[in-house]
Point group: C2
Chain length 380, copies 2
């Protein structure tokens, strides 16, 4: 396995760094925010929009795609890239988190997880090996192991059990991934996941096992699962510090400017979240001075853009008054434009963070940015 | 008033003709299909999409925009073009049809129409003069008179009453329009509407009065209101033949290939309909071999485009299998792509019709096109 990750610059005042991931569908500069395309599309955006914003990698959900359209369709399409017409990189999650959060029934055994589809109630069984095969069939550039994610507040006993199962599954998944690679066609990378809930010694144990497995990258799971921002940052920091510097680190489910900047400060290279598109469809938009709701009466006669400082095509040519009108009239165009702007905003934030790291001033940049951003009169 | 319409070519085998409308926001080649942007946007399309397809004029609904966002907002935006960011032409209807089809209460007097909003139940009053003022405030390039539209099947007495009110309102509206023009800023055109339901002598009387008013163009209203296709074509043909050749003729609410070709054959120059976008959002798409529903099981593993013969960006790069998946997953992208394709298809049909007229073979073209189109296994 050649090196797939190079650190380009290391900020001297914190763990933030810039780097380059060398993936089957092209290079990706880090830190990178990956937009989520659950059903093989980022909601309300075309792939031309995604390229225009500058995304080199998107995330898609194995659980959803496994259930619908199913592996037969994606296999017949020669993989997910062809199916959705996206020639840049795709990271797929393992479906573990979705089985636990969406399926109306699930039963974990050592072998794998049995569950019912949230779409039609049908029964399915996924093992760590099967999940690797499915992601290889998709042609995922980065695939994740099947893991067991526990919410904030579970007892130590449950956290230990989840950790043990996750470890066991990691080793089996890694072997299955190597089998896929050995067939010669599939080139995607495999990332195991550190769990351990909010118990430091469990995080340490999980990290140790993951490091021992020596895979191309490492994900930190089980964060942003209901805990406070303080606890999130504490465990993010604690866990990230346990990981080898030379591997790319990915924190799953992070999508607000505050969390993204906190993750970058702690040396995280990759993150994803539905937040910017979901919140956009709900008519909430990011600005350098915080978020706001388009529907607010004060936007009725406001002909300025969402954010004067934003260079996106929405801010260059649509007014708050018009967007408010579209939102009130429930026009699809509102979801399209608000989602575009929010993704542009987050991508731009990450670009600025990279630049600041290059200038050895990430902490200063973060303070400046959040100082203005947290003026926001509303939290969403 | 200089001439705003020039006939370019007249097909010798029927009434079909090509022409050019010279409007305040640029020239428009006819016959022309105008997509409908009810709430100051064509649903699920950006203005870049509309320009890419090649539309030089869109329709917007006075009733909807008068109620929401209201004239105060559009006035503050310096008109509808600025508000929606569309620098080509806009035709606005008068709101008459919507008052009769959407408002939960309406009462017509000689003075105008009192009605309740379908949005919030508030009471409003629109007179023919007020409707002209509203459309002038919007900056509509072509504005329509307030009229009374009756459905198929009403008694002669009711059709006569609607005709009389429509005539009376036409004269008052025309005067109000001339007053707007005289102020020197507004340059839009005014089209009166021929009514008369399905009574030939009433159509004749209505046409006579409209012709006498000598306005820039003439609309034929009260068709496609529940009657059979045969009756529609009979009355379209009858009414169009009554109108002076040198004026542009507009039939409201026509949006299927069959009706569009029937209208062009009868010398109609302009038409509009929500059909292509509404039907697109419902997952139905046009092809040269008829319409079909994306959700059909037979599309599950079909990786060909919607229509092999279509040159639109959707057909160039998305498969039926992917679009079916998006439809089943209720992804907004499906509405975006299906609406785009359907509008492209209709615009392309009209371009081909213009070319056929130029070659004096419109009837032949129509027969060829419908011969294949009506193979369709399903009617939508």
């Amino acid at each position: 396995m050649g090196s797939i990750f190079a650190i380009d610059q290391q900020d001297s005042s914190c763990s933030a760094r810039t780097g380059t991931l060398d993936l089957p569908h092209g290079k990706v500069s880090t830190p990178v925010f990956m937009p989520v395309g659950t059903n093989a599309t980022v909601k309300a955006l075309t792939r031309e929009d995604l390229k225009e914003i500058g995304f080199d990698i998107v995330l898609s959900n194995t659980y959803h795609l496994y259930l619908r359209p199913g592996t037969e369709v994606i296999s017949a399409a020669n993989g997910l890239h062809n199916f959705m017409g996206w020639d840049r990189n795709i990271l797929t999650d393992s479906g573990g988190f979705q089985v636990f959060s969406l399926a109306p029934f699930r039963k974990i055994t050592e072998e794998g997880v049995k569950f019912r589809s949230h779409i039609d109630g049908s029964y399915h069984f996924l093992s760590p090996e099967k999940v690797v095969e499915v992601q290889a069939l998709f042609g995922s550039d980065i695939q994740m192991q099947l893991d067991v994610c526990t919410p904030w507040g579970v007892e130590r006993k449950e956290a230990v059990r989840a950790l043990e199962t996750t470890s066991l599954w990691m080793n089996r998944a890694k072997q299955a991934w190597e089998t896929e690679l050995a067939k010669g066609e599939y080139k995607g990378l495999f990332f195991p996941i550190v769990q351990g809930n909010f118990f430091k010694e469990l995080r340490e144990e999980s990290a140790k096992r993951v490091i021992d497995a020596d895979c191309p990258g490492i994900a930190i799971g089980g964060l942003s699962v209901g805990e406070s921002e303080e606890l999130f940052l504490e465990f993010l920091n604690y866990t990230a510090a346990l990981l080898p510097k030379e591997k790319p680190r990915y924190v799953m489910g992070i999508g607000t400017p505050e969390y993204i900047l906190g993750a970058i400060e702690n040396g995280i290279d990759m993150f994803d979240c539905v937040f910017p598109t979901r919140t956009g469809r709900n008519g909430h938009v990011f600005t350098h001075k915080g978020c706001f709701a388009l529907k607010k009466a004060e936007n009725t006669l406001n002909f300025s853009p969402i954010d004067e400082e934003c260079g996106c095509k929405v801010c260059r040519s649509y007014s708050r008054a018009y967007l408010r009108h579209l939102f009130k009239a429930q026009e699809i165009l509102c979801s399209m434009l608000a989602s575009y702007h929010n993704l542009y905003f987050l991508n731009d934030l990450v670009l600025k963070a990279r630049r600041a790291i290059g200038e050895n001033r990430f902490l200063e940049f973060k303070k400046e940015f959040l100082g203005r951003y947290e003026q926001s009169e509303e939290k969403i």
